[in-house]
């Protein structure tokens, strides 16, 4: 997605994940830029082979979780200590902290809730997935048993086509940018 360069794209279809992985490594070592690979399932090691940056979703998740923790602390403080002090098991409840152990389940759950939900939404937003979004998949067969690779064309088209055929591509097509 999001091709910033204006080079034409060459699409190559494969039917084996190991072959795709090998092809990506080969192309990149020959100076080509593999902009995208469509696959029916995650291919172990593909992100590394494509040179993708590590996701920042986990860092975001940490802060989402922290937000949930603080929200739960405030919620329990307001509802259980400030607005209507609760007597839980006869334990001291003058300050939020004194009754904090009984709020830990709430704090834990809201931490998980915030982290999980906000992670999902972040993931959708970053990948431009929303109700009614048009499918970006160029070939429906990649949702079944085929793998499609998009390579930016640099140099002669014939060279790249030959190379892709050597690497085991079944179909090759060119898309003008």
């Amino acid at each position: 997605m999001g091709h910033t360069k204006h080079n034409p794209i060459v699409r190559a279809l494969f039917n084996d994940d190991d072959v795709v992985l090998g092809a990506v490594k080969d192309l990149r070592s020959n100076g080509y830029h593999v902009s995208e690979v469509y696959s029916p399932f995650p291919i172990h090691g593909l992100d590394e082979a494509m040179g993708l940056k590590r996701t920042r979703l986990s860092t975001a998740a940490f802060f989402y979780g922290l937000t949930g923790l603080f929200f739960a602390s405030w919620l329990t403080y307001y509802t259980m200590t400030l607005d209507w002090p609760q007597n839980i098991g006869g334990k001291p409840n003058a300050y939020w902290f004194l009754n904090m152990p009984s709020f830990i389940p709430v704090m834990f759950e809201l931490t998980v809730f915030f982290a999980a939900h906000l992670m999902c939404w972040s993931y959708f937003a970053v990948n431009k997935l929303y109700p009614g979004a048009k499918a970006q998949n160029p070939d429906p067969r990649t949702t079944d048993d085929h793998f499609l690779m998009e390579v930016e064309l640099e140099g002669e088209e014939a060279d790249l086509t030959k190379k892709l055929q050597e690497l085991g591509a079944l179909e090759i097509s060119k898309v003008e940018a």
Binding site: F62, G89, P101, S102, I104
Partner: protein
Amino acid sequence: MFEFKTKTKQLAIALTVVGAILWVVGFALNGSSSHDAGHGHDAHATEVHADAGHDTHAEEAHADHGHDAHAEEAHDDHGHEAHAEEAHADHGHDAHAEEAHGDHDAHAEHAAHQIANRPWSALYVAAFFFLGLGLGQLFFLGIQYVAQAGWSAGLLRLMEAQSFAIVVPLIVIALITFLGFGHVHHMFHWMVEGINVPGHENYDAIIAGKRGFLNPLFFTIRILIYIGGWIWAAKVLRKNSLLSDTGDGVAMWKKNRGVAAAFTVFYAVTSSTSAWDLVMSIDTHWFSTLFGWYTFAGMFVSSFAALILLTLYLKGQGHLEWVNENHLHDLGKFMFAFSVFWTYLWFSQFVLIWYANIPEEVTYYMQRFEQYKVPFFTMLVLNFILPVLAVLSRPAKRVPGTVVMAAVFVLVGHYMDHYVMIMPGTVGDHYGFGLVELGPILFFAGLYIYVVLSSVAKAPLLHKNHPMLTESKNFHQ
């Protein structure tokens, strides 16, 4: 093949010897030096008697009278003036000879027992902690076979070596408990004479009700079953693993899987019952239904910390070239996961008891909050917050530095955890960290290093005919 160098061997032996000497010296000085033993609240210590059947309203005031441990008591439960009663707490075993007559003597005797218990309890804490380092890995070794794990094939020899470290702590633990039957110490209140005899001055109806389980004969049989079963598993798993080096790797692996499956079932039961017997029975009145898993979780996570340190030590010596950051990552994940699991069980146990607020249950935590505040809360930070923050992120689990840091937190924290499990029920507020505590740690650490490294040195570090060795070598994530 790893060579256990003479220098390292000498260091391990020196640790053992120094530790033993420190403990013996501490034992001799105990009682006479109980005032400078490190607890700074001699003046007005509130005692919470969780299990002694004494008056829980009594406040004990320990006065400094030179070098004898005088216990002075003030009773205010009947509203009249305080009775002052003095008892000489001789450090030896003869304190028991003082027959208890009435509440005051009973209290003084109780305090004397607690002081006399301290060296034994300290030895017991260290033995139990180091037992966990071996036992956790013995169970983990079994799990590798049962789960048909491939990633760990290159680490099995280290787990086997660690498993043998259970022998010495087990013997020490068994001896200490058996000495309790001879009233050499008073760590286990249920071992007191006449505890189940109605009309006897030591009679305790609640403990008498548990006599079917907590009686000397059955207890001894159980201890022997644990020792026999665990050591048998460690020996057989090791034997078959060594046989596979010269023979058929697949056949030996299958044999070990059968052994491991049997051991896992055996350990599922004995991990809980041993925790009841060896630790929970100290606070005899108190019980917790998840205590076995809680104890197991603590042992398991600290054994991962030990495995990580051992792996990195051997890598630092230029061995284990097939172990890389991917394996370290998995070990780090296990340590992280079980550190969280331990906290989960700790909290589950605490929050239900704390808010259910049943007197005989909640005293367990009252005593820890009041007398053991510092170790109790420090160990929570060390066992949960610090390791979680240190190895939460993926890159942190792949760098030796952060993983080692987390492992050290876990080891220190779980020593303190065992301390807080065992000490309150045996020594009350007469605790501290002195020679008697330091000695056993050095003693068992030296033995642990000696036993583990010498078994590592006895066999090739690579389990070369393991059917899944290739998977382990190619493992990455």
